[in-house]
């Protein structure tokens, strides 16, 4: 008996007992839909996390941070100049694996444009900063090496600054306007894009479709990882130093002044370790061997994130697998019941020449078909469940259904069908034709 006829016979049997088949499918439907839904959720979390990781600079970002010198080396600590612009310059020369170097200096200042004024954080940077901090330009240009070399009074601002100081203007209209930092005038040369979380983007879309301008308050009150980025006020590092920092210390030069932040971006992750070694040895030179700095990398942090994602995935998957097992037991149960109802049919088939394995295959194909159809229904139900989740429990990480999750779910459903069909099929195939024919 070939597989096609077996399949046809199985489907016939399923169709002949619709209600019973639906009951036996139910477990698989629930199992698959919950598998799809949990995988959708973890997909969403994973995607959200990856986007967030990307936004904050990704794995390639390495920060050089200050470190307390250990007590026994205290005497030498004065030998080190600390983190200065010299570190950045040295890295640019002798750490080729480091793609971008962003020394930064910041301070709080009084900002004014026209009638509006506020205290804001100012950041002085090299052009590399825009790459390292993953800034995207909306209009105008970023700061260039020329700005840094000539200490120009050019400035790139975030979208929030535009909204704060020129609420009536578009970012494009703001270009060329003047803003003062502690009474020193600067000219806006670039405005960054608005950085938003996925959730806010969607909120905007919904609001747009409803023709409402005002976002709901709860959304604005939430912690926003991009708030600082949107409030950026960025000027050349040299300008910041000459205008606002110089003249404060006796030994006063651009090169020897401490910088606040030193962020690096590694060009190629394949040479991650080597790049870290280059950074370390370069800085050991500029710091004269004093161990007063540390490399802060993201890999451990990201690893923790990955671990927690896979833990979520595992626990969700486990729950779904358990319900699939329960569904499989349901199929076994109903197949056993259906077999004792069909002993006579099996007897007839045996009498006309069916072999034990024909009967085995028939029952197995039937249970796999039930599971497979249940799986397909489960995928539809799971998709519905995901849509429902999006509506009733909106989160930053929008769950979505991936192709893998569909394949995995169907594979598990079919596996459940095979496993749950084996015992009933084995029992049916072991029936003795004579007693099966006599069975009433």
């Amino acid at each position: 008996m070939n597989l096609w006829i077996t399949l046809e016979t199985g489907l016939r049997e399923i169709l002949a007992h619709k209600f019973r088949s639906i009951l036996s499918m139910l477990g698989i439907v629930l199992g698959v839909s919950s598998l799809i839904a949990t995988m959708g959720l973890t997909n969403g979390i994973e995607h959200g996390t990856r986007v967030f990781m990307e936004q904050i600079g990704g794995l390639e970002l390495v920060s050089i941070i200050q470190k307390e010198v250990s007590a026994d080396r205290m005497d030498f600590s004065a030998l080190s100049p600390g983190r200065t612009i010299r570190d950045a310059e040295a890295l640019r020369v002798s750490a080729p694996l480091v793609g971008y170097i962003s020394p930064e200096m910041g301070f709080g200042a009084f900002i004014a444009a026209g009638p509006i004024s506020d205290r804001k954080a100012i950041l002085g940077v090299w052009p590399d900063h825009f790459v390292v901090a993953r800034h995207d330009l909306n209009v105008g240009r970023f700061l260039t090496q020329l700005d840094v070399d000539n200490a120009t009074h050019a400035m790139v601002i975030g979208d929030d600054i535009v909204q704060k100081f020129w609420p009536a203007l578009t970012p494009a209209q703001v270009l060329g306007r003047t803003i003062t930092i502690n009474q020193v005038p600067f000219r806006v040369v670039g405005v960054c894009k608005r950085y938003e979380r996925e959730q806010e983007k969607r909120m905007q879309e919904i609001l747009k479709s409803r023709n409402k301008a005002q976002p709901p308050k709860s959304a604005t009150l939430r912690w926003d990882p991009f708030r600082r980025k949107n409030e950026s006020i960025i000027i050349p590092l040299t300008t910041l130093f000459y205008e606002f920092k110089s003249g404060q210390l006796p030994d006063d030069s651009m090169a020897s002044t401490h910088i606040d932040t030193l962020n690096l971006r590694i060009e190629n992750l394949a040479y991650y370790r080597q790049a870290l070694d280059q950074i370390r040895s370069t800085l050991n030179g500029t710091h004269r061997g004093v161990d007063d700095f540390d490399l802060q990398t993201r890999d451990e942090w990201f690893e923790r994130m990955e671990t927690s994602i896979s833990a979520t995935r595992l626990s969700g998957g486990l729950i779904a697998i358990i319900s699939l097992v329960v569904g499989g037991i349901g199929i076994t149960n109903i197949m056993l019941a259906s077999i004792s109802e069909r002993v006579r049919e099996i007897g007839i088939r045996l009498a006309v020449g069916a072999r034990g394995r024909d009967i085995f295959l028939q029952i197995l194909v039937e249970s796999v078909s039930v599971a497979f159809i249940g799986g397909l229904i489960g995928i539809v139900a799971g998709y519905g469940l995901i849509q429902l989740l999006i509506v009733i429990a909106p989160s930053e990480n929008i769950p979505f259904m991936s192709v893998e999750s569909v394949i995995i779910s169907v594979a598990f459903a079919v596996l459940a069908g095979i496993i749950s069909g084996i015992y009933p099929a084995l029992r049916a195939s072991k029936l003795d034709p004579i007693s099966a024919l006599r069975y009433e």
Partner: protein, 235 residues
């Protein structure tokens, strides 16, 4: 070579700690083209004998040679293949599959002999027409009369062109007129050269056969030839 050759065949069943000897030393030879009836009261062992002859079972003792094959210790798959190729059954209670229509019921044995779908259908319809069911092909057994059901069963028994056809009380569930028609079909089959074995408790049914074997208590009690009138010889 005989079609069927049983030598000192015995079949014992075990029910609890009691051993039941359903067949006790049966010798039987059936030649190609014979029309044989096995007769006996219930519990005589005639059904057990038919199960052995029909390859549904193997003997506990003795030797069983069917269709030129020694099947004394055959495995169930071998028996199934022999049933499929060489044997057609017609049962008292028809044993049709209620969910399948007439054509699908008839082609059931062909499903297990690997014949392609078109050929299966063609042969099933051909056989259905030969038993006078040409206008009932799409009906289900529940929509047919008892006589029609038995004709479907006969068609199913014939579809694989078997060498031997068994009728197990084939008229038991039919009224006398339709029963007569069914018996006539068996007679016709035999005239066409097929080996037919009827199993019955009814001497009238057995009377249409050319050789009758009477079973009592698991043994062949006597053998007679209805056409040549009363018993001719003891086994």
């Amino acid at each position: 070579m005989s079609l069927v050759l049983l030598e000192k065949v015995a079949k014992t069943y075990r029910i609890g700690d009691q051993e039941i000897r359903a067949l006790d030393g049966v010798d039987l030879r059936i030649e190609e083209g014979e029309f044989l009836a096995i007769i006996g009261p219930s519990g005589s062992g005639k059904s057990t004998l038919m199960h052995l002859l029909g390859c549904l079972d193997t003997p506990s003792e003795g030797r069983m040679h069917l269709f030129g094959q020694d099947l004394t210790t055959a495995r169930s798959d071998t028996l199934a293949a022999v049933r499929n190729r060489e044997i057609g059954f017609v049962f008292q209670s028809f044993n049709l599959l209620p969910k399948l229509d007439v054509v699908r019921n008839i082609e059931l044995p062909l499903l297990y002999s690997g014949i392609p779908a078109a050929e299966r259908r063609r042969r099933a319809i051909e056989v259905a027409e030969s038993v006078g069911l040409g206008d009932r092909l799409a009906n289900r057994p529940t929509q047919l009369s008892g006589g029609q059901c038995q004709r479907v069963a006969i068609a199913r028994a014939l579809v694989n062109r078997p060498r031997i056809i068994f009728g197990d009380e084939p008229t038991g569930n039919l009224d006398s007129t339709t029963g007569e028609l069914v018996l006539e079909m068996f007679r016709q089959l035999n005239r066409e050269g097929r080996t037919v074995v009827l199993v019955t408790h009814d001497p009238d049914v057995a009377g249409i056969a050319r050789r009758v074997i009477e079973i009592r208590d698991g043994r062949i009690k006597r053998e007679y030839f209805p056409e040549s009138a009363p018993p001719s010889r003891q086994p």
